[in-house]
């Protein structure tokens, strides 16, 4: 069994700079380990400030602060996490899921709310 984690590289305003999906296996010691060093390709230029890790099956997220650094689109960034640990069960406190940034036109079609009356 592997957990599916989405990692997002964010700037100080929680703007999305890049993301990746990682499958990690649970191991004794209370952590999920990726098979290889975790990395992601930067989507757009910016100043990286944090990485959020979203455990998708449980829909919970955590935030890891990274040294503020300039990143450029197209560059592959490697996250040197010890033992490639993506998630510790007894780790940092959960945080709200990071916001998604939509970079295209979006149309949302909403179904009607219904109410009915029954003749008695």
């Amino acid at each position: 069994m592997r957990g599916r984690f989405v990692l997002r590289l964010l700037d100080a305003a929680d703007g999305l700079l890049g993301w990746t999906e990682v499958l990690a296996r649970p191991c004794p010691g209370g952590a999920f380990h990726a098979d290889d060093a975790v990395g992601l390709v930067v989507d757009r230029d910016g100043q990286a400030a944090s990485v959020t890790v979203h455990w998708t099956e449980l829909d919970i997220a955590r935030r890891v602060t990274v040294p503020v650094m300039a990143v450029r689109a197209g560059v592959r960034l490697r996250l040197d996490w010890p033992e490639n640990i993506v998630w510790r069960v007894h780790g940092e406190a959960d945080v709200p899921r990071p916001p998604v940034t939509v970079r295209r036109d979006l149309t949302l079609s909403l179904r009607p709310g219904e109410s009915s009356a029954a003749a008695v």
């Binding site: 036109d105 079609s109 909403l110 179904r111 009607p112 709310g113 109410s115 009356a117």
Partner: protein
């Protein structure tokens, strides 16, 4: 994204009965709220009790946009009436319209006591930002924003 159907606020049902909300003649607006908003609390009654509207910036103005082409008309059958309006759209410019989570329909009135909450919808599971240069369109279903039917 997990778009949900519109849901009535409880008091809106009361108000269409006592005439406070008139789908045939009142003016309505659609506004956006953040994930911190209490918009999904069905016991809310007035606009003044709604919290955390999306910040006015980058193409979003407070109190949202007017609903156009509002109709209150027969729906799928003679046993149903529907509240229908045209789509509403926002274009983000100069920056992102941030923290979009839900949409709320409000009946506009001259006083705070006449600005009634009508219905709401969650647009997404996790709030999102609309990046500059992009357009968000809220498109009511052809079946209506709200329907009222009998057996």
């Amino acid at each position: 994204m997990a778009v949900q159907a519109f849901k009535w606020y409880n008091q809106a049902l009361k108000k269409i009965g006592n005439g406070s909300i008139n789908f045939a003649s009142d003016t309505f607006r659609l506004l956006l709220v953040t994930s911190a908003s209490n918009f999904a609390t069905r016991t809310l009654g007035l606009l003044g009790s709604l919290t955390n509207e999306v910040s006015e910036a980058n193409g979003y103005s407070s109190s949202g946009k007017a609903l156009g082409n509002v109709t209150w008309t027969v729906g799928a059958s003679a046993k149903q009436y529907r509240f229908l309006a045209s789509s509403v759209a926002w274009s983000a410019n100069g920056g992102s319209i941030s923290n979009i989570k839900g949409a709320v329909v409000v009946k506009i009135g001259a006083s705070a006591g006449a600005r009634d909450l009508v219905c709401f919808a969650s647009l997404t599971g996790s709030q999102f930002a609309l990046a500059a240069g992009n357009r968000l369109t809220i498109q009511p279903n052809a079946a209506g924003i709200l329907t009222l039917s009998t057996t």
